[in-house]
């Protein structure tokens, strides 16, 4: 057809343009966007730091009071590191308060996302990685520094821990993003996603390793194994925290990170599938 011939000339320009640049630009945009939320960032840093003190004192006191049985093999330094790093990672993986997609589905603005030549999962993920980058320079760094000043933290014994932690935290972001995307995407089918949100809040707070280290449950090994294998939650926080406080040999921790990578793949796959289903039955709200 004539139309196709004429347009193939226009299209060939697009083909030379590397897709990775598109993704990089979206990552940068996500970062830039969060630099405009200075007050919100400052407020969450403050809250996370205050709660860092609270949690750390409680955890250390509990460990000291009950002896080794409850501490599940953590040294006080490891516990303090666990505490402060998790306070910092909350903002990086962004367990709570991400409603970007859900809001846009409800308002109908999702149309604008669907009218771009980039898969919505890809573009939301890229933007989220930019956001996470911003959070690691702000919401992660500040609590870690405060924690290091006020407490005796665990210093990694192996150099490999640093890059492995970075990788593990990145995978934690991806897994968490996948969960958040799915929770938000429920809005394609349900007008009210509060129920789904509640399940997510419950799961993420208790089972991700935020409320307490999952190793505290080591008396029920089947439960711990089940959590790691059957749910994505430990991959979000417990995994990077284990890497950081060096619970286990390098080999074991590599296994943990590999498990995270598997979960990241599974979650993104589900997101892709769900988005495809949503496309077919999509009803955009509003004229």
């Amino acid at each position: 057809m004539i139309a196709d011939l004429a347009t193939s000339a226009r299209r060939s320009a697009g083909r030379q343009y590397p897709r990775t640049r598109t993704i990089a630009a979206l990552v940068v945009a996500g970062f830039r966007r969060y630099t405009t939320y200075r007050q919100a960032t400052a407020a969450s840093i403050f809250t996370n730091t205050v709660f860092g003190y609270l949690r750390c004192y409680v955890l250390l006191a509990a460990a000291a009071g009950s002896g080794l049985a409850v501490t599940a093999g953590y040294t006080p330094q490891q516990l303090a590191t666990y505490c402060w790093a998790s306070q910092g990672l909350i903002g990086v993986v962004m367990i709570w308060g991400w409603t970007d997609l859900g809001d846009r589905i409800r308002s109908g603005d999702i149309v604008a996302d669907l009218l771009r030549p980039v898969h919505p999962v890809t573009s939301y993920l890229a933007i989220d990685l930019g956001r996470a980058g911003h959070a690691s320079l702000t919401r992660f760094v500040v609590p870690m520094v405060v924690g290091a000043i006020s407490f005796d933290l665990h210093t990694p014994q192996r150099f490999a821990t640093y890059p492995l932690f970075a990788l593990s935290a990145l995978l934690g972001v991806v897994v968490c993003f996948g969960c958040r995307y799915l929770v938000n995407a429920a809005g394609f089918w349900l007008l009210d996603v509060r129920g789904v949100n509640l399940v997510w809040l419950f799961g993420s707070s208790l089972l991700a390793g935020l409320a307490f280290p999952l190793h505290f449950l080591s008396e029920w090994p089947w439960l711990v194994t089940g959590l790691w294998v059957l749910t994505p939650f430990p991959s979000i926080l417990q995994a990077p925290l284990d890497v950081l406080v060096e619970r286990g040999s390098v080999g074991q921790l590599l296994g943990v990170v590999a498990g995270q990578a598997a979960w990241a793949g599974v979650m993104l796959g589900i997101c892709w599938y769900v988005q495809r289903r949503a496309d077919r039955k999509l009803v955009i709200q509003g004229g």
């Binding site: 057809m1 004539i2 139309a3 196709d4 004429a6 347009t7 226009r10 299209r11 320009a13 697009g14 030379q16 343009y17 897709r19 640049r21 598109t22 990089a24 630009a25 979206l26 945009a29 830039r32 966007r33 405009t36 939320y37 109908g108 603005d109 149309v111 604008a112 669907l114 009218l115 771009r116 030549p117 980039v118 898969h119 573009s123 496309d279 077919r280 039955k281 999509l282 009803v283 955009i284 509003g286 004229g287």
Partner: protein, 332 residues
């Protein structure tokens, strides 16, 4: 020969509406928002897609752009099936839905344009040329560094048009792009669209309730009502169909000695002792012919010609089918 850019056959969209009927019972009605539309649009056409509120215009555009799955019917835009090939289609079309924004709320406007370049993968040189042109034609320079959320409605709409066109789309869908704009902004947008139309390589589908938009921009009008096409043709054809007439007002030095008799010319009224006369013309005689005849029998002081009011003809068209959409099937 102009290639078909939009090819729609028997397009339908049904919505299921659930209503509460009593304490536990709910009734489900199926309403056809779009009810069997056929539409063919060639390259470079500017199509005015009109209809009263709730006629199904936005619903049609959603299906043409691939964000809404049709209930039945065939749709091809640029040879692609919109929902199934949405992302490929998105690379080749530009869309402005009046109420939705393609811009990044928190970032300066400039950043949205830069991002659009990466998202639509536009070579830097093409991007720069187009952006320079749009900045000039739509007067964007004053607010390029303003965060989008601080833009006024008119500024935002001009920006939306820009971002929809920065990748040089083959087809542009505009759903009420002039809604809520002041006179100056409307004129800027209209002039911009006229220019785009006259370049001839972009197909434009425009939805609007603004009659001046229709008059200035659209050569072809498709009017729909309750999901069906009720008119497809020029504005002239619409006037013809509804018997719209041009009027010629003349002021003479003295009364006419004998009435003017020309085909299709009717003397509608006269006043001031027959010195002010209004004629209405159905098109068989031109205004020039009428004035020529008048000049030969009387002394003309003043003449004015009134084009038929588009309001009237559109209102007549909309009013000629007034029943609200009826439920098709009911299930308990």
């Amino acid at each position: 020969m102009s290639a078909l850019v939009i090819d729609v056959r028997g397009l339908r969209k049904e919505f299921t509406i659930t209503r509460k009927a009593g304490r536990l019972r709910r009734t489900r009605h199926t309403v056809a928002a779009v009810d069997g539309i056929d539409l063919r649009v060639g390259r470079g056409e500017l199509l005015g897609y009109l209809g009263p509120n709730g006629a199904g215009k936005s619903t049609t555009l959603k299906m043409l752009t691939g964000v809404l799955m049709p209930t039945s019917g065939e749709v091809r835009v640029c040879g692609l099936v919109p929902v199934a090939q949405r992302r490929r289609l998105a690379a080749r079309i530009g869309v402005v839905f009046g109420q939705r924004s393609q811009l990044w709320w928190d970032l300066p406007l400039r950043d949205s344009f830069e991002l659009a370049r990466h998202i639509w993968r536009v070579p830097a040189a093409d991007h720069a040329t187009r952006l320079a042109r749009f900045r000039r034609e739509l007067d964007l320079d004053d607010f390029l560094d303003t965060p989008v959320r601080q833009l006024s409605l008119g500024q935002r709409m001009r920006s939306e048009l820009t971002i929809a066109l920065l990748h040089g789309p083959e087809v542009v869908f505009l759903d009420e792009p002039t809604i809520g704009l002041d006179v100056v902004s409307k004129q800027a947008v209209r002039a911009f669209l006229t220019e785009l139309r006259d370049r001839g390589d972009t197909t434009i589908v425009l939805t609007t309730h603004d009659l001046a938009d229709i008059e200035r921009l659209c050569r072809r009008l498709v009017v729909i009502d309750r999901g069906r096409v009720v008119h497809d043709g020029t504005l002239g054809a619409l006037h013809e169909r509804y018997g719209s007439r041009r009027r010629v007002l003349v002021e003479l030095d003295e009364q006419l000695s004998a009435p003017i008799e020309l085909p299709g010319v009717v003397q509608e009224s006269s006043s001031a002792n027959g010195r002010l006369i209004t004629f209405s013309l159905d098109g068989s005689t031109t205004a020039g012919e009428l004035v020529g005849r008048l000049a030969s029998v009387a002394q003309l002081r003043d003449i004015s010609v009134q084009e038929p009011a588009i309001e009237d003809v559109i209102a007549r068209l909309y009013a000629s089918s007034t029943t609200p959409p009826h439920p098709r099937r009911s299930r308990p």
